[in-house]
C-alpha cells in the first residue's frame, strides 16, 4: 500500500464521475453539566478533574439524563426542520476502547429524537442547495487519549498512552445528512457551505460553542463517486475529523480525485475510514469499515424513554431564533451593504458584533469599517478571529463617535484602537492618556499654515494661480508641523482661503 495515493485532476474526475456526499457532524453541547451526570463541562481543565463515578463508569454508577441536553437536541431538530419523536430511547453502542469508560457509548440507534429535516444552504456563487437531514440524535462524548512517545502522536509507535476523562459524558448531538446527490463539481463547496450554515445555526441557537479547532464541532465526510449518469452509488469512504471549514472542502475534493484515480486504474474503492491530514492535504487509509461492524445496539435499560409532549415541543419552537440566512438578508438591507460587503462581514464572523455596534450608536458604515476592515485585517495577519482582541461593540461605537465628533482623525483612531487592544482602557481613556486629539485651536493651525506658506512660496504661487492640486503638498507640511494632530480638511480650507486669488 502506497503512502501517497494517486490522484487525478479534479475537473477530469468530475467529467467522468458524479460524487455523492454524506456528512456526519458531531456537536458538543454547551450545557453546564454532562449528559448523564452533574460534572462540569468546561474546556481545558486539568485532566481528570471533571469526573465522577458516573462518567468514569465506576461499578454501580447509573446515568440520569440532562434535561437541558434533551431540550437542546429538540431545538436543534426543530431548527433543522425535523420531526420530533413522540417517544424515543437511548441505546448502548458496545465496543471496547480505553477512552470509553463503560466500553459502551450511550447513544441513540433506531429511535432518534429528531428525523427527516432539511437545511437550505447558500453557496458562494449565490445559488442554494437543500441538504436533507436524516436524523439528529443524542449521545455522549468519549474521553481523550494522549499517546506519548513515538513521533506521530498516534497510537502506533507510542510508548504509552494517557487518558483524560474530562470529555467523557459531554453531551453530543450527531447530525446525519441523507446522501447529497446532484451537486456535481460543487460537491466540496456544498459540503463546506453546509457545515458553515450548520455552525451559524447552532451558534444562533446558543447550544454549542461550535469551535471546530477545539473539537466542539467535528465533521466526518462520507464520499463516493459513480460514473456519470449512473444511479447506483459507489462504495464510500468515511474521512474522519475534518476539523475546519476549509478542510471540509479540501478533504471532499481530495477524496473525489483519489477515488477517480483508483477507478480509472481499474481498481475498486475499499470501504474504510480515512484520516485527513491538514498539513499535507491528503487522506490516508484508516481501518476497514464494513456494514458488518457490529456494535450490538440494544435499548439502554438504565434510562427511561424520552417522551416530549407536544406542548413542550411547541414551547421550544417558540424559543428558536430567526434563521441565520434570513437574518443576514434583513440586516444587509437595513445596513445598506453591498453583497460583497456583506459576505466579507459574514466571513469575518462579525454580523453579531456589527449589529451590537450599530445598536450602541455607530453608523453601519463605521461599524463595518472597523470590524470587517481594520480588525479583520489584524485577525487575519495574526491567525485570530475579530472577537479575540478584547474589543467590544461599545468600544467601536465610542471610537466611531470620536471620529465623527472630529476629535480624532483616521490615523489617530487607529492608534487609539492599538491602545484598546493593548488593554489601555476605553477609546476615550486611550485618547486622553496618549494625548491624541485633533487641535481645535484655530490660531495654532493658522500659525502653522502661515509658516508653511511663507516657507514654500513657489508652491503657494501655483495655488494662487488656480492649481489647487498643489495645495496637497502644503497640507502635508502643515500636518507635519502639527504633529498629525490637526484636521486635514480644515487645514486645506485655511490654505485655500489664504491663497485665494482675491486675498491679498
Amino acid at each position: 500500500m502506497s503512502i501517497t495515493d494517486e490522484v487525478v485532476d479534479y475537473d477530469e474526475a468530475l467529467a467522468a464521475y458524479d460524487p455523492v456526499l454524506g456528512l456526519e457532524v458531531h456537536v458538543e453541547l454547551n450545557t453546564a453539566t454532562k449528559m448523564f451526570c452533574g460534572c462540569a463541562t468546561g474546556f481545558g481543565a486539568e485532566p481528570n478533574t471533571q469526573v465522577c463515578p458516573v462518567c468514569l463508569g465506576l461499578p454501580g454508577a447509573l446515568p440520569v439524563v440532562n434535561e437541558k441536553g434533551v431540550e437542546a437536541a429538540i431545538r436543534i431538530g426543530l431548527a433543522l426542520n425535523c420531526s420530533i419523536a413522540d417517544w424515543c430511547r437511548f441505546a448502548r453502542k458496545n465496543y471496547f476502547y480505553p477512552d470509553m469508560p463503560k466500553n459502551f457509548q450511550t447513544s441513540q440507534y433506531d429511535e432518534p429524537i429528531a428525523f427527516d429535516g432539511y437545511l437550505d444552504v447558500e453557496l458562494e456563487d449565490g445559488s442554494t442547495y437543500r441538504v436533507e437531514i436524516e436524523r439528529a440524535h443524542m449521545e455522549e462524548d468519549t474521553g481523550k487519549s494522549l499517546h506519548v512517545g513515538g513521533s506521530t502522536g498516534r497510537i502506533q509507535g507510542a510508548e504509552y498512552s494517557l487518558v483524560d476523562y474530562n470529555r467523557a459524558g459531554i453531551p453530543l448531538i450527531e447530525i446525519v445528512t441523507k446522501p447529497l446527490t446532484g451537486t456535481g463539481a460543487k460537491a466540496p463547496l456544498v459540503a463546506k457551505a453546509y457545515v458553515a450554515a450548520l455552525r451559524d445555526l447552532l451558534k444562533a441557537l446558543n447550544v454549542s460553542d461550535v469551535r471546530m479547532e477545539q473539537g466542539s464541532m467535528r465533521c466526518d465526510a462520507n464520499v463516493s463517486i459513480m460514473p456519470k449518469g449512473a444511479e447506483k452509488f459507489g462504495t464510500r469512504t468515511e474521512t474522519k475529523n475534518v476539523n475546519s471549514l476549509r478542510s471540509v472542502e479540501r478533504a471532499v475534493r481530495y477524496e473525489i480525485s483519489r477515488q477517480a484515480a483508483v477507478l480509472n486504474a481499474g481498481g475498486s474503492i475499499l470501504q474504510e475510514t480515512r484520516h485527513w491530514h491538514e498539513d499535507t492535504g491528503v487522506t490516508t487509509s484508516g481501518r476497514p469499515k464494513s456494514d458488518a461492524d457490529d456494535y450490538r445496539y440494544f435499548p439502554e435499560p438504565d434510562l427511561v424513554p424520552i417522551a416530549p409532549s407536544r406542548a413542550e415541543v411547541d414551547r421550544l419552537r417558540e424559543t428558536l431564533p430567526e434563521p441565520p440566512a434570513q437574518r443576514r438578508k434583513r440586516l444587509q438591507s437595513a445596513w445598506g451593504y453591498s453583497d460583497l460587503e456583506m459576505r466579507d462581514v459574514v466571513n469575518a464572523g462579525a454580523v453579531d458584533l456589527i449589529e451590537q455596534t450599530v445598536e450602541a450608536g455607530a453608523s453601519p458604515a463605521g461599524a463595518r469599517k472597523w470590524w470587517s476592515g481594520e480588525l479583520a485585517r489584524r485577525a487575519n495577519a495574526e491567525g485570530k478571529t475579530v472577537s479575540d482582541f478584547g474589543v467590544t461593540p461599545a468600544h467601536v461605537a465610542e471610537l466611531d463617535g470620536l471620529v465623527k465628533a472630529g476629535r480624532l482623525n483616521d490615523s489617530m483612531a487607529r492608534q487609539v484602537m492599538d491602545g484598546v487592544i493593548a488593554g489601555e482602557g476605553t477609546p476615550t481613556q486611550v485618547a486622553d492618556t496618549r494625548g491624541l486629539e485633533l487641535v481645535q485651536d484655530d490660531s495654532a493651525l493658522e500659525a502653522a499654515v502661515d509658516k508653511v506658506i511663507a516657507a514654500n512660496e513657489p508652491i503657494a504661487a501655483k495655488v494662487r494661480d488656480g492649481k489647487l492640486n498643489a495645495a496637497g503638498a502644503l497640507i502635508g507640511q502643515v500636518m507635519k508641523e502639527m504633529k498629525g494632530q490637526a484636521d486635514a480638511a480644515k487645514a486645506r480650507e485655511l490654505i485655500l482661503a489664504k491663497l485665494a486669488p482675491d486675498a491679498s
Binding site: G60, R92, N94, N103, F104, S161, D294, F298, P301
Partner: protein
C-alpha cells in the same frame, strides 16, 4: 436481654430504644458470632469490626444525649458484596475487582448509614450474582447453616446464610432472578424482592439492569418490612426509581390479615416436578391460608413456561454490556498477556478478563454477546423481550382475578455443594418460579413454610403481588408466619442444628 443474636431486629430496636441494650453490645455480639462460626459458614468476604463498632458507639452517644433516632438505629446489618460501600472492599465475588474500594456509597448504603446502622461487613455471593449456590464465588462457597455440606442458595447465599447463622439480624441482598428469594427458601429465612424501581439501584454493581432489585434478608416478615421501608423510596440518581412513597409495608406486616383475600395458585408453577417435601409444605400452606379466611383460586399463566428461556437471553445480553467496563484500564485487576513485551491496551483487556472472570461469567458474556449480534438480535433478544411482554400480560390477567399469587419458592431444598456445578441447566432451573417476577417487575417475598420430610431441610413459600403493591406480600406473609409459628410453637429457625462455635 441475654440472647442478643437470636433476637429479631424489631425487638433489638425496641431494646435499644429502651436503653436495655447498647448498640456496642449488640454489634459486638454479632462480631463475636461471626468470629465463632464464619470459618465454617463463610458468609462474609470482609468484616469491618472497627467501622461497625465506631458507628455503634456514635449511636449510643447520640442516644445517651437524648437524640431521637431512626427506628433501626444501632441495629447492625450485613451488605451483599455487589453493593458499593465507600471505604470497604467491594468485589461482587469476582477476582477482577479484588482490592477495589469504592469512592462512593450506594444510595441504599447512604440510607443505612443515615439510619445509624453499623455495617458488619460484606457478604459472599456468586460472581457478579450469576448463580444459585454461591459456588461461583471467586472466594469459595458459603455453607448452609442447616447443613454445612449444602449450598445456601444464590446468588445471595452469603446474606441469607449470615442471617440464618445469627451472624447478623439483617442483611441486604439483590435479586435478578431469585437471588434473594431462593437463598431465603433454602436457609429457612425471609427475603423480599421489592417492585422493580422500589429500591434505588444506584451503587449496585449491575448484572442485568432491567431485572436487578435490592431488598431485605431477615428472619422475620416484620424485620423485612422494617428494612424495606428504610431502603425503599425514590432516588433521583436512579432513572428507573419509582417516584412514589414506599408502600405501607410495616403496617401490613403487623396487621397480617388475609380474610377475604383472593390467593392465586399458578397452574404452571404449582409444584409439579418439584421435590415431594416442598410440594407437601406448599399444599399445607394453601390449606392454612384458606383456614385463615383467604379464598384460593387457580389461575393460568401460560407464558411462564417460556420465562426461563427469555431470562437466559435478556440477562446475558445486558450482563455482556454491563460487564464490559471491567477492562483493567481504571480499577481492579490488571494482568499483562504472557510473553508479550509491550502489550497493547486491547491485549491487556483480554488477558485481564481471561484471568479475572470465572467460567460462569464468561459463559454468560459469550451468550449475551451472541444474542445481541447483528443478524441474531431479533431472533434472540427481540423474541425474549416479546416473551417478557407476554409474561407481564399473564400477571396482569391473573391480578384481575386475585390479590396475590403463591408458588413454592424453589423446586428443591438445599442441594449438596458440587452437585449441580457441572450442569448449568440444572442450576438455572432453580430459578424457574422466581424469574417471572423479575421479568415483569412485580414484587415477591419468600417465607419459610416448614421442613421437607425427606431431608429435614427448609422449604419456602413465594408470595407475588402486583407492581407497587408490595404491602400485600407482608400482609399475607405476616399472617402465614404467625399461623405457622403457632403450629410449630416457635419460629422455624429454632429447629436448626446448633453450629459449633470455635473460639
Amino acid at each position: 436481654m441475654t440472647d442478643i443474636i437470636h433476637t429479631s431486629a424489631a425487638d433489638l430496636a425496641d431494646a435499644l430504644a429502651a436503653k436495655q441494650l447498647s448498640s456496642v453490645e449488640v454489634t459486638q455480639a454479632h462480631l463475636d458470632r461471626i468470629a465463632a462460626v464464619d470459618g465454617a459458614v463463610h458468609a462474609f468476604l470482609h468484616v469491618d469490626a472497627e467501622g461497625a463498632l465506631a458507628t455503634a458507639r456514635a449511636i449510643d452517644d447520640r442516644r445517651a444525649a437524648g437524640e431521637t433516632l431512626p427506628a433501626l438505629a444501632g441495629v447492625p446489618i450485613a451488605v451483599k458484596d455487589v453493593v458499593a460501600t465507600q471505604g470497604l472492599p467491594t468485589t461482587a465475588g469476582s477476582k477482577i475487582l479484588q482490592g477495589w474500594i469504592p469512592p462512593y456509597d450506594a444510595t441504599l448504603v447512604t440510607r443505612l448509614k443515615a439510619a445509624g446502622m453499623p455495617i458488619l461487613g460484606k457478604t459472599n455471593m456468586d460472581e457478579f450474582a450469576m448463580g444459585s449456590s454461591t459456588e461461583h464465588s471467586a472466594y469459595g462457597p458459603t455453607h448452609n447453616p442447616w447443613d454445612l455440606e449444602r449450598i445456601p442458595g444464590g446468588s445471595g447465599g452469603g446474606s441469607s446464610a449470615a442471617v440464618a447463622a445469627f451472624e447478623a439480624p439483617l442483611a441486604i441482598g439483590t435479586d435478578t432472578g431469585g437471588s434473594i428469594r431462593q437463598p431465603a427458601a433454602v436457609t429457612g429465612t425471609v427475603g423480599t424482592k421489592p417492585t422493580y424501581g422500589g429500591v434505588s439501584r444506584f451503587g449496585l454493581i449491575a448484572l442485568a439492569s432491567s431485572l436487578d432489585q435490592a431488598g431485605p434478608c431477615t428472619r422475620s416478615v416484620l424485620d423485612a418490612a422494617l428494612l424495606h421501608e428504610l431502603i425503599g423510596g425514590h432516588d433521583p440518581m436512579d432513572s428507573t426509581s419509582i417516584d412514589a412513597p414506599v408502600p405501607p409495608v410495616v403496617e401490613a406486616a403487623r396487621r397480617g390479615d388475609v380474610k377475604g383475600l383472593r390467593v392465586g395458585v399458578i397452574t404452571e408453577v404449582s409444584g409439579k416436578g418439584f421435590q415431594a417435601g416442598v410440594r407437601a409444605r406448599f399444599t399445607e400452606s394453601l390449606d392454612l391460608l384458606a383456614e385463615l379466611g383467604a379464598e384460593i383460586v387457580e389461575v393460568s399463566c401460560p407464558s411462564f413456561e417460556k420465562g426461563l428461556a427469555a431470562y437466559y437471553l435478556i440477562l446475558p445480553s445486558e450482563a455482556s454490556s454491563n460487564l464490559a467496563k471491567f477492562d483493567a484500564m481504571r480499577y481492579g485487576l490488571r494482568v499483562g498477556p504472557e510473553g508479550v513485551v509491550a502489550p497493547s491496551a486491547e491485549q491487556v483487556m483480554a488477558a485481564t478478563r481471561d484471568a479475572g472472570f470465572g467460567d460462569e461469567v464468561k459463559r454468560r458474556i459469550i451468550l449475551g454477546t451472541y444474542a445481541l449480534s447483528s443478524g441474531y438480535y431479533d431472533a434472540y433478544y427481540g423474541q425474549a423481550q416479546k416473551v417478557r411482554t407476554l409474561i407481564a400480560r399473564d400477571f396482569a390477567a391473573a391480578f384481575e382475578q386475585v390479590d396475590v399469587l403463591v408458588t413454592p419458592t424453589a423446586p428443591t431444598t438445599a442441594f449438596k455443594l458440587g452437585e449441580k456445578l457441572d450442569d448449568p441447566m440444572a442450576m438455572y432451573l432453580n430459578d424457574v418460579a422466581t424469574i417471572p417476577a423479575n421479568l415483569a417487575g412485580v414484587p415477591g417475598i419468600s417465607i419459610p413454610n416448614g421442613l421437607a420430610d425427606e431431608d429435614g431441610l427448609p422449604s419456602g413459600l413465594q408470595i407475588l403481588a402486583p407492581a407497587t403493591r408490595d404491602e400485600r406480600l407482608y400482609q399475607v406473609g405476616g399472617a402465614l408466619e404467625r399461623a405457622l409459628e403457632a403450629q410449630w410453637g416457635a419460629p422455624l429457625w429454632t429447629k436448626a442444628p446448633r453450629l459449633e462455635e470455635s473460639r
